[in-house]
């Protein structure tokens, strides 16, 4: 049985197998590099590289370099960067920056804070805490961050912790691009379809309305343990740095909010950690008039929400601003600059 033929065959097999395995990392990287450049984004399931993607994160991270010593720093998901308009706060003399990003989970918030907190040096942090982000795996947000910011040890550690092949691919691809200097001259358009980037981190959507609110199936929001740990770590960090923090649930469409069956538990959890404002409980906004989709307010909703927030914060920061409602806004001429204000006729 143990013949010379056997010896030759098994030797050949093992030699070729080992050689093939050793070559695989190089072949894989080569294919990844080529694929990342030639394949359309839609067909690359496990290569997420939304440079200049929907949330204008690239512009925001360019913009943040020009800001320092702000009064309020906004953090959170798209509910934050589409929900806190720095112009409204600026009108009251408050200097703000919105560091929200798409589906930003606490794991990515932690990284952004590590990179920009000391420079922005905020007096107060308004942390938008849509509970869905704490139940999220953080993949979408991680890919957004990798594609739009520089690679560092913090991002590499985050990728390893997430343990997702799509994120590994994104990090490797980003490293390639950085080595080749491909992102150096990348500039993101200010106007993208119906979205406009507003300096200070806000993204304004052309005025639209959530005309046909749907019913959502009941959902129990269960927090992801890693996200919860990161979240509590962040709150602890703020307390250590003696930065005042307000946790805020920005308004979402009523139909979506009531589908979350454990809202009271979530409220209790947030209240136990820091000052907490749930605007879904205190601010009545019409789904059809103040939102453009179940998650996001239109500019009318943003104004009402921001003014309500300002009214609450004035006790802490010493300023005052008027309040509005959506009906008033429809025909009014508030000092907004965006083109969306030009087409209120859709409303009535």
């Amino acid at each position: 049985m143990f013949t010379s033929n056997f010896n030759m065959d098994i030797k050949n097999f093992l030699k070729n197998a080992i050689l093939f395995i050793l070559l695989q990392p190089f072949a894989y990287l080569l294919f990844l590099l080529i694929w990342g450049h030639v394949a359309p984004l839609g067909i690359s399931k496990n290569l997420r590289f939304p440079i200049g993607g929907n949330g204008h994160l690239h512009s925001r991270l360019m913009d943040v370099k020009t800001h320092e010593d702000v009064d309020i720093l906004f953090l959170g998901s798209s509910h934050a960067y589409r929900g806190f308009d720095p112009r409204i706060f600026a009108a009251c003399g408050i200097k703000t920056f919105n560091l929200g990003s798409s589906s930003q989970t606490p794991i990515q918030t932690d990284i952004l804070l590590g990179r920009y907190l000391s420079k922005l040096n905020p007096k107060m942090i308004v942390y938008e805490v849509y509970p869905g982000t704490l139940s999220n795996d953080g993949i979408e947000s991680a890919a957004d961050l990798i594609a739009n910011d520089r690679i560092g040890r913090d991002l590499i550690n985050m990728s390893l912790e997430l343990g997702h092949i799509g994120i590994y691919h994104s990090v490797i691809f980003k490293l390639f691009r950085e080595m080749l200097g491909e992102d150096r001259n990348f500039t993101e358009a200010v106007f993208k379809g119906v979205d406009t980037y507003i300096p200070g981190g806000f993204v304004e959507r052309e005025l639209a309305f959530y005309e046909h609110p749907e019913t959502f199936p009941p959902r129990l929001i269960e927090f992801n343990q890693n996200q919860q740990d990161a979240f509590e770590r962040i709150i602890k960090k703020f307390k250590q740095k003696k930065i005042k923090v307000v946790l805020v649930q920005a308004p979402i469409a009523h139909e979506l909010y009531v589908s979350h069956i454990n809202n009271p538990d979530i409220d209790r959890y947030y209240s136990s950690l820091a000052s907490y404002l749930n605007f879904n409980e205190t601010l009545e906004l019409s789904s059809t008039e103040c939102f453009y989709d179940p998650h996001h307010m239109n500019q009318n909703g943003v104004e009402i929400f921001n003014h309500s927030l300002l009214n609450i914060l004035q006790n802490w920061m010493g300023f005052s601003c008027p309040s509005f409602n959506c009906r008033q806004l429809k025909g009014s001429s508030l000092p907004l600059t965006h083109k969306s204000r030009q087409k209120p006729s859709v409303l009535l």
Binding site: F6, F13, Q24, S44, I165
Partner: protein, 486 residues
């Protein structure tokens, strides 16, 4: 341990190296090593059920010896029935207890009677349907005088628990696999290389095609009541593709792995979606199961002999048994009945069962007639497929009714935000996959390249690209094979 897991990626090379480099001097040692490795492989899932396999092994080994030594035919018959009874009772207890109890409760309540049996939380041991049928063939074949019993308990135990095909087949016959455990295995370089190619193709089928289809299938079948007919049609088509790629992918990995160890397992799938009618489909689909039922159920019942009534009876019993083999649910029984209906024109003599031979033999593309036949056969599998996938008959019914409406002509509405791969690229992927299978249809598997003269560099680049595609389309987390539930 799943084939598509990191654990298996370490387990296989380790077992392979020890098998050929350390234990190759003695057949007994090799068999013992395979047995240990197989028990580790199975015990990785739940070690408690190793006792069940051990019992099955010991019982059938003993019955085999007794069947051979006893002279009295009555005693032999009794031994055979004892083996069948014990094996099927074990299977029945673990697989069908809940089903029968539930149905008894329903039947009693229908008659206004109360029946409240003690509830048991029974876990279905993975692969029990596969290894039970594999071990059942052993005493039956001895009784029929087709094989002689082995006197090597280690070889027999290794045959029963052989890890590549333990949990989802192919369901091997003792007459094919057992002799391979009793003779020296020789390492064959081309065979091992082709085995690796088959494993790679199996992984591609499972992780790239099946799992990505599965994401849509899960969403569509869960929300079928609210979806358009066109979406439901796509869901049903995706399920057929998922089922084929998932199960044949598993079989490819099992066969390829066995080849690495010097074993040849039977073919389980022969490009079934290139069939031109339902009888041909059944000759190409899950071959090891359909031939098992043919040889041990259909032919003993009388097979094609007798009048039309007898033929129909034999066919009905066989397909109902195949349906029940898949699981304890009325959906599987209905699926079996639907398959009988497909055979009805052939049983009644309306259509003639003829041997079509190879499809488009010697030609690159099929004729229009063949395209029509293949398309018709594929689409005829949709209704049984929906019944097979649905949780209950009522769900299957609403799905099928929903599929036949005017919204068939509306644009399919699939939630792209829930599935990770967009829907159009997936269609393109499926088309490319079937194109590759078509051009390789005369081979054992679609990645068999041994008679194609390509430079080594090119071949390695192809393998590397397949590996890259798996990495690019792999789902998050481990997804078990569909047939593990059976």
């Amino acid at each position: 341990m799943l084939f598509n897991s990191i654990d298996f990626a370490f387990f296989l090379p380790l077992v392979f190296s020890l098998y050929w480099l350390v234990f190759n001097r003695s057949l007994k040692l090799q068999n013992l090593f395979i047995l240990i490795a197989s028990y580790v492989f199975y015990g990785w899932w739940d070690w408690r059920f190793l006792a069940l396999i051990s019992f099955s092994t010991f019982f059938d080994y003993s019955i085999g010896l007794l069947l051979f030594t006893k002279r009295s035919s009555r005693l032999k018959k009794a031994l055979l029935w004892a083996s069948i009874f014990i094996n099927l009772s074990l299977l029945g207890f673990f697989k069908y207890y809940g089903f029968f109890i539930d149905n008894f409760i329903s039947a009693f309540s229908f008659c206004d009677l109360e029946f409240s049996p003690t509830p048991l939380n029974i876990i279905l041991p993975v692969g029990i349907s596969f290894y039970t049928f594999q071990t059942l063939s052993y005493p039956i074949d001895i009784y029929r005088g087709k094989i002689q019993p082995t006197r090597d308990p280690i070889a027999f135990a290794a045959f029963v628990s052989f890890f590549p095909q333990l949990v989802a087949g192919p369901i091997e016959r003792a007459s094919n696999l057992l002799p391979q455990f009793c003779s020296h295995r020789i390492f064959n370089y081309p065979n091992a290389i082709d085995g690796l190619r088959q494993i790679l193709w199996g992984l591609f089928k499972k992780m790239v095609v099946a799992d990505n289809c599965g994401e849509y299938v899960d969403i569509i079948f869960q929300n079928h009541a609210n979806l358009r007919a066109s979406t439901l049609l796509i869901g049903a088509v995706f399920f057929l593709v998922q089922l084929y790629c998932d199960f044949s992918g598993y079989s490819d990995i099992a066969i390829g792995t066995s080849r690495l160890f010097g074993f040849n397992l039977m073919r389980n799938f022969a490009f079934p979606y290139f069939s031109r009618n339902n009888p041909e489909y059944w000759r190409r689909w899950h071959i090891s199961l359909s031939t098992w039922f043919r040889d041990y159920v259909y032919i003993p019942l009388g097979g094609n002999n007798g009048n039309q009534y007898r033929k129909l009876r034999n066919l009905s019993i066989t397909f109902l048994a195949i349906g029940l083999w898949h699981g304890a649910n009325w959906t599987f029984i209905t699926w079996g009945i639907l398959n009988v209906l497909f055979f009805l024109p052939y049983v009644l003599g309306i259509k003639k069962r003829k041997d079509f031979g190879e499809i488009a033999e010697g030609k690159t593309f099929p004729s229009i007639k063949e395209c029509y036949q293949m398309g018709a056969t594929f689409f005829s599998r949709l209704i049984p497929g929906i019944v097979f996938r649905s949780d209950s008959i009522s769900n299957a019914q609403t799905y099928i009714v929903g599929m036949f409406s005017f919204s068939m002509f509306a644009k399919p509405s699939i939630y792209p935000d829930k599935a990770q791969l967009a829907f159009q690229p997936l269609i393109l992927l499926i088309i490319c996959f079937f194109a590759i299978e078509w051009f390789q249809r005369d081979k054992q598997h679609a990645m068999q390249l041994d008679d194609i003269h390509l430079p080594k560099t090119f071949r390695w680049a192809v393998y590397s690209f397949v590996i890259f595609c798996i990495g690019m389309y792999i789902p998050t987390g481990e997804t078990p094979f569909v047939y593990f539930q059976f």
